[in-house]
Amino acid sequence: MSEYVSNSRLERVLKAGHLGVTSECGPPRGSDAEEVKKKGLLIKDYVDAVNVTDNQTAMTRMSSLAACIHLKLLGIEPVLQMVTRDRNRVALQSDILGAASFDIPNMLCLSGDHQSFGDCAQGQNVHDLDSMQLVQTVRHMRDEGKFLGGDDIKRPPKIFVGAAANPFADPFEIRIPRLAKKIVCGAEFIQTQCIYNLDKFKEWMRRAVDRGLTEKTFIMAGMTPMKSVGMAKYMKNKVPGMDVPEEIINRLAGVEKKKQAQEGIDICVEHIQELSEIKGVAGFHIMAIEWEEKVPEIVERSGLFPRPEV
Amino acid sequence: MRLKIPTNFRIIRLPCTGKIDIIHILRAFEKGADGLYVVGCMEGDCHFNEGNFRARKRVEQAARVLDLIGVGGERVKMYNLSSGEGPLFAQYSIEMVNKIKELGPSPIRLARQRMSKKADAA
């Protein structure tokens, strides 16, 4: 993994062997770009790239691509998240070219939450491709310089391609085979689901290392600080595929309410420090949901600041 | 045991209440019945295991439909008793007849009467 496939800073940081740092920014439910820019500027110097979600939880929002462009124009490197729920292969390829025209250098391929969670529960879903096939598609467009239909692309997209992994989803025994499959499809970096159960994550990571998967992809551990014990309980009980151990809940419940947020940040920082030592962890994806202002503190206290020059 | 029961209802015997279908209930109303009740064995005592449970579901189905078309779902009811409970059978029949009297004639019967009068006048 020595030569660069894109102009991505994230790619350079990871390939130089530094721990990469990404964060996340959800576009607004309206057309005011200031919200995106504000969030982006808050974290600009503390991360290598900012993921921009694609209508997350199937709630209609400003398009991920448009929000990515706003960030890019401010000099902030975006990771374009793209779900296969809403667009067929024509639209997906077209948006990939659109992103590439603005030199958006990273993409994360996802299937997307089911539309029944969002504000258009009666809408159709597309799923012409699945997330792995989307990874294959971008790689095909970039590496072969061709559309899925076989025609040549003038100025093919130069995009560093990622996929998501959930070390905690069911069934556990296919977690590693599934990761391997995504890598075969061409995922160059992986951002994981939020990690709270460190033991289970370490076991997953050990298996990934044993299979040699960390030689083929960069695995960035997903981190989300808890704002309160209420949020921890909600994540444990309501969010599919989330594993929140009792001890996290007890620890948050053990401090008075107004100090719970700080405790959540502390836990997050401790987790990052602990996982930094784990073989195969290539970086962190810090998803501070509607709490972007805390990202600088987390990055600094975790010893990940300043970001390296690459 | 000689028990007094109302005389204004007809008993239709079935091998098991599980034999009853919603269409039998609807036809009774279509022909002008003001009410209908089904008497099955005690729940759990059905010789065919679930005949009386099926019957209860069908009575409920009929009640929903009758409500929907303005006839009134309260005109149908399911009772359960064991074969040795003659007095209770009598009590249920009195209860049902009184209830139907309270409700008055079924709109279907009234409609039939109006229609036949119209036909007579013509």
């Binding site: 729920r85 699945d130 069934p171 499959k181 595929g241 | 269409i23 609807l26 439909v65 078309i69 109006r114």
Partner: protein, 222 residues
Amino acid sequence: MIIAEKKPIEEIIQEVKDFDRILILGCNECVTVCEAGGKKEVEVLASVLRMYFMAQGQEKTIGERTLERQCDHEYLEEIRNIIDDYDAVVSLACGVGVQFAAEKYLTMPLLPGVNTVCLGANEDRGLWTERCQACGTCVLARTGGICPVSRCAKRVLNGPCGGSTNGKCEISKDTDCAWQLIIDRLKALDKMDDYEKVAPVKDWSTDRAGGPRTVTREDVKI
């Protein structure tokens, strides 16, 4: 078989209220088995409509008929001699039957009495569940005999997605995760190696996407 579900009576009443002579037309095939549009359902609907309109003081003629099938010319021909006695037909067949009847009797209003739901199986008494979406290119050989197209809410061909929890789908804890079922089957077949084979981008042109589909068999044509 084709699974259908009775339309609400209120909806049918709305559709037929302006007609005086209505034929309720059942079908002896799938809709009979799934108890939505067979002879019995014809009788019930006819009785209900008669009573409803009677209570409204309206005299309507409500006829009842159930055909062997509504998706075959020869059976639909059986009503040709009575069809003119009616102003409208409520067909309790699946969408195929309704349309086939409509094509045959051009000037007769044909109203659907059921909602056609899916291609499914009779899983239990009173429970019918989807098994096939007629995508036109069967993948079951590669997925342990469990269909990801019809049974995964995202028709993910390389699953499961991140929403699979305890064997259930993210859309509902009552819905099995198709990919959990596939993995269970692959394990039972000792074919877990197959799991890592990537399913390529699917050709959906044989699905709905390719337009109305036909099967032509020159060898059986006369």
